[in-house]
């Protein structure tokens, strides 16, 4: 859906996530904290879709940026008394961008399994640093005492998560706007080209490596912001934002929703995190079983994720409809 032949106009379906989010805000006040968490995960998944779905960069290390952003915001607040939410976001973005460009410059010369292992190594290293530097990060106990000043000095983070939800929603909206612009732009088309055929991209004179480093850094920055948002919402950071597990969870969410479709990043985290929340309450010991089952079903029967499945069903339905119409016409004659 990117490229030189695509229509960049916003379709009515694209307003659905925002309508649903606002609907949830008014109708489900008791779930706003979970909602805010889901919104930060969507922003994070969106950043992953940009590199995985569009540029074809395969990674198990996207938690390095998310976690670094989360810890940057947390440490600034808990250790240095910087409580302004925007300053925290800015610092988290800068830190994640720096890590993105420096590690990207090294690892993006490789691909496939080598790349996968290197991304995994990087987030494992960051995890170990966060674990060992407990004077700064709180180590395995996590970092508590994170406080966030009212947004713009006006809106306090309340107990019910109303402010947090709207704050994350605005952040996600801006992130979505930027990613959507990016993928419809010539830059986005070029990324699709790299994913589709790197050899051909070299042969039309594209500096593929530098372009990958650039998009990787953009994605890392977004992931860092998403991580900082999570810290601000939870007012706590733990080691569970780093390492293989959160990266894997994110990947599962995106695959569940649909890779390279922009809105797969919306559907995946919603389904995954709600299922997790529900199943973890009902079957605290077996909830991963449900998630696993869901993933198997999606991978076996809906390769394009939930959105891909919806597309397929709609196409079948439209086909049946047009067949029905043409046969009705034939019998009328």
């Amino acid at each position: 859906m990117s490229g030189y032949t695509s229509n960049p106009r916003i379709r009515w379906q694209e307003s659905l996530p925002w309508i649903l989010a606002l609907g949830a805000f008014f109708l489900m006040p008791e779930y706003l904290s979970l909602g805010a968490r889901i919104l930060t995960y969507i922003l994070w998944a969106l950043s992953l879709d940009l590199i995985l779905g569009y540029a074809g960069i395969i990674t198990l290390g996207h938690s390095a940026f998310f976690g670094l952003g989360a810890y940057t915001a947390g440490i600034l607040s808990a250790r240095y008394g910087v409580t302004d939410p925007f300053l925290q976001l800015l610092a988290a973005a800068a830190a994640a961008a720096l890590l993105g460009i420096s590690t990207g410059a090294v690892i993006l010369r490789t691909k496939a399994l080598t790349l996968l292992m290197l991304t995994l190594a990087i987030t494992s290293i960051v995890l170990e640093i966060a674990n060992k530097a407990s004077w700064l990060t709180g180590g395995a106990d996590g970092l508590s005492g994170v406080t966030v000043a009212p947004i713009l000095g006006l809106f306090k983070f309340d107990l019910f998560g109303r402010t947090a939800f709207l704050y994350c929603l605005v952040a996600l909206f801006l992130g979505w706007l930027i990613v959507r612009r990016l993928i419809y732009s010539p830059f986005g088309a070029m990324l699709t080209g790299i994913r589709e055929n790197t050899t051909r991209m070299h042969a039309v004179g594209a500096p593929v490596y530098w372009r990958l480093v650039l998009v990787y850094t953009i994605s890392a920055t977004m992931a860092g912001i998403a991580g900082a948002l999570l810290t601000q919402v939870n007012q706590f950071v733990g080691l569970n934002v780093l390492g293989l597990e959160p990266s894997g969870d994110l990947l599962v969410m995106l695959i569940l929703g649909g890779v390279g479709r922009l809105y797969g990043a919306f559907v995946g985290p919603v389904v995954y995190l709600i299922a997790q929340d529900y199943l973890a309450k009902q079957y605290p010991e077996y909830w991963y079983f449900g998630i696993g089952l869901l993933l198997i079903v999606v991978v076996l029967f809906a390769r394009g994720g939930i959105l891909g499945l919806i597309d397929k069903v709609r196409d079948k339905w439209l086909q049946a409809l047009s067949r029905h119409r043409s046969s009705a016409k034939a019998s009328a004659r």
Partner: protein, 250 residues
Amino acid sequence: MAASALETQKLCKSFGALSVAEDIDFRLAPGARHALIGPNGAGKTTFVNMLTGRIAPSSGRILLEGHDITKANQAARVRRGLGRTFQITTLFRSLPVLDNVALGIAERDGVARRMWKPASRHTEITDEALQLLATLGLKDDARTPVQDLPYGRQRLVEIAIALGLKPKVLLLDEPAAGVPSQDSGRILEILGALPSDIAILIIEHDMDLVFRFASRITVLVAGEILVEGTPEEIASDSRVRAVYLGEAHG
């Protein structure tokens, strides 16, 4: 001396003890229609890969319009004006034909880095791509994914992408490979109509196509240039007949 469009000086490549290119001194004149032929394993592909920068020569130099490009990477050579097509179609298979061509044009124009305005509103790119497709008779396929085209048309897209880069030198690596004979005429027609200021080196097995298209032919055998001349000279050369034509027609 007028600078050659493309020139190699004492170009060598060996893999261990195996030498696949030995002291190749090759010159492609500006606006040339030049063919490179040779039996299987003669080192044609290695030679082309060295020209395009996919593999590095062991020694020797490569000059593009007088500039030494021996150390330049593939993309830098393309930006300097060295275009190529691939023997095995190397396309963006799931993307529409228009995008296949537009991606190259956008790189040439420096538009590919732009991140804000939608690609389809960069009409300077899409218009040029459509015009190019029209000259190749592909305009009706502009919105068709490449993978849905018949093979002969895919070969034309391969050529269209290369032309979109406005190359000064164009390497055609078996442009008619795998194309049914009724379609190869169309390819020859298009090759014949290419702008005369592009210097073209064609690597081809189809002798019919070579002799109709090229005004000079270089014969490569076992990594060395055996002989170079006009089609008539090549056709009557007894050594060529012995090692190549005789074998091919025998």
